[in-house]
Chain length 145, copies 2
DNA sequence: AATATAAGTCAATAAAACAGACTGATTTCT
DNA sequence: AGAAATCAGTCTGTTTTATTGACTTATATT
């Protein structure tokens, strides 16, 4: 049946790209005040979220996810280190690696950022069924690969 | 049953915020080459996508969606005008408004950007059921409000 | 021993966004 | 009809974020 394939149509794909943009922009604007309070910006926010979700994450991994240059990442990293928000440990297996963790202070900041951001997601989920949320997450993951 | 509410748990919300970030970053990196070819960047890409999806969109509407200042938007708009990618028309009802449209050249560029971006979404959707895609879109819309 | 990888650094530049103050045209309020 | 609000745009200067290119150091792989 033709109708079954409507979701693969160009218009639907274009809509989704726009929705992704808007969902990202709005979700990552909710915590602006929390960041300004400690003189940080969106680049730090992105980094903190990643380190929080992947404790011990390495620089190369961050570069691949955020698609920025190592020089750009390094600036942001140094600013977080200067503010005692993250800690670096030498890799155990591979001595070249450095694993990045949030400090106690970093965890606190991450939580305050998260508390601002979660409201929007929670409200959306409350209007959704468990299945909808599950499917939503599944598709998001497939977009990332 | 407790299990039914797991999807509202903090860890799940945090995961989703990170997934949104990654889905956005990867989706909007796929068209880098198309933009560089015409000396444009991500700020232009975001704008073009919006104008494509909402022909006749006004400046205030764009400001609300992209959450940037009008000075910042104006710079990007002027660059697109200089390259004959967009057209502005005086608002019919309200003479203060200016409605923004893609030019023929703008539509072509938008299509080339879209063709690069759609691959990722299409691949994800092909691995998903029509229901999953539908639910995905529904939740995305609820996040935006 | 040669090569590749992970991380970091220096310096210059470009891109994107912000802040504040201000103009002009049109519409809405009362 | 006059005051206030709204939409768009402008000027100037600054900050934030990211890029390019070249180069170093340490460790791991082949």
């Amino acid at each position: 049946m033709l109708k079954d394939f409507l979701y693969l149509k160009e218009k639907n794909l274009k809509d989704v790209i726009e929705l992704l943009l808007r969902a990202y922009v709005s979700s990552f604007s909710d915590s602006e005040k929390n960041l300004k309070r400690v003189s940080l910006g969106k680049s730090h926010q992105r980094l903190i979220i990643l380190i929080d979700n992947y404790p011990g994450i390495r620089v190369v991994e961050i570069l691949n996810i955020l698609r920025i240059t190592k020089q750009s990442l390094n600036r942001v990293l140094q600013e977080l280190i200067k503010k005692d928000l993250i800690i670096q440990k030498q890799g155990e297996k591979d001595g070249r690696e450095k694993q990045i963790y949030l400090s106690k202070k970093g965890v606190e900041l991450s939580n305050s950022i998260f508390n601002s951001q979660k409201i929007r997601i929670l409200n959306a989920f409350k209007k959704s069924s468990p299945d909808e949320v599950l499917y939503f997450k599944n598709v998001l993951k497939r977009i990332i690969e």
